[in-house]
């Protein structure tokens, strides 16, 4: 199991080179900074709570491992300034059963969204606004 919080970019191929040996299937999710509707996003500033972040993500990861039959699990989340098109984070899950790999990856995403201490600020050419949490993100947790 790998959990990393970092400022720098990551490379999917490098991260997956030794990932999930013996598994029958690997699911990955990669989150990418989208431009806003106005198309004037300069960057997304991602703040986090360094003393807590790693521990919070590991707790989420352990919960996923207890619920599903996983051979391997990887979570990387970046912080700092990220331009449109940049990778923000990724999760990968490996299992002998594809349903487990899919469910665990979705679970990790839902929990990382609402339970890991990250906050996004959208900085455009003429404003800087904290991204509001969406009610649907909180509701997404109810299904687990």
């Amino acid at each position: 199991m790998t959990v990393r919080v970092q400022e720098g970019d990551f490379d999917l191929a490098t991260e997956l080179a030794d990932f999930g040996r013996g598994a029958g299937g690997i699911v990955t999710f990669t989150g990418i900074v989208r431009n806003n509707d106005a198309g004037n996003l300069q960057y997304m500033e991602i703040e986090h709570y360094p003393a807590m972040t790693q521990r919070a993500i590991e707790a989420i990861a352990n919960e996923a491992r207890s619920r599903w039959d996983l051979c391997d699990l990887l979570i990387i989340h970046r912080h700092g300034r990220l331009a449109p098109g940049a990778r923000i984070m990724m999760v990968a899950t490996a299992s002998t059963h594809r349903a487990d790999a899919f469910a665990a990856a979705e679970f990790l995403m839902d929990y990382l969204k609402s339970r890991a201490p990250f906050w996004k600020k959208e900085v455009t050419s003429d404003s800087a606004e904290w991204v509001a949490a969406r009610e649907t993100d909180e509701k997404a947790l109810d299904r687990w």
Binding site: H48, H77, S114, P117, F118, W119, K120, W130, E138
Partner: protein, 82 residues
């Protein structure tokens, strides 16, 4: 003495990322009450309790959680990672 840390717009409204606080509060909510009574900027930051999340010693807690033994309390808005 307890370390209190702030993130995102809670940090911006209060105007500092971290401070040490002398408190007799027994719960997180009581600590919010004390801080809000101090100055307008705290009152503003904590005006919508439903939008405030808290962690005690780096673990997410409800606002009615006890403070006994806590070394660090964090306040922040709902998280928006992923």
């Amino acid at each position: 003495m307890i370390d209190v840390v702030y993130f995102a717009w809670v940090r911006e409204r209060i105007g500092l990322p971290r401070e040490q606080v002398e408190t007799n509060a027994t719960t997180v909510a009581e600590l919010i009450d004390e801080l809000s009574a101090r100055e307008e900027r705290y009152a503003l930051a904590f005006s919508d309790r439903g939008a405030i999340r808290a962690a005690v010693d780096q673990t997410l807690v409800d606002l009615d959680a006890p403070l006994k033994g806590a070394r660090e309390v964090a306040f922040f808005p709902p998280m928006t990672g992923g």
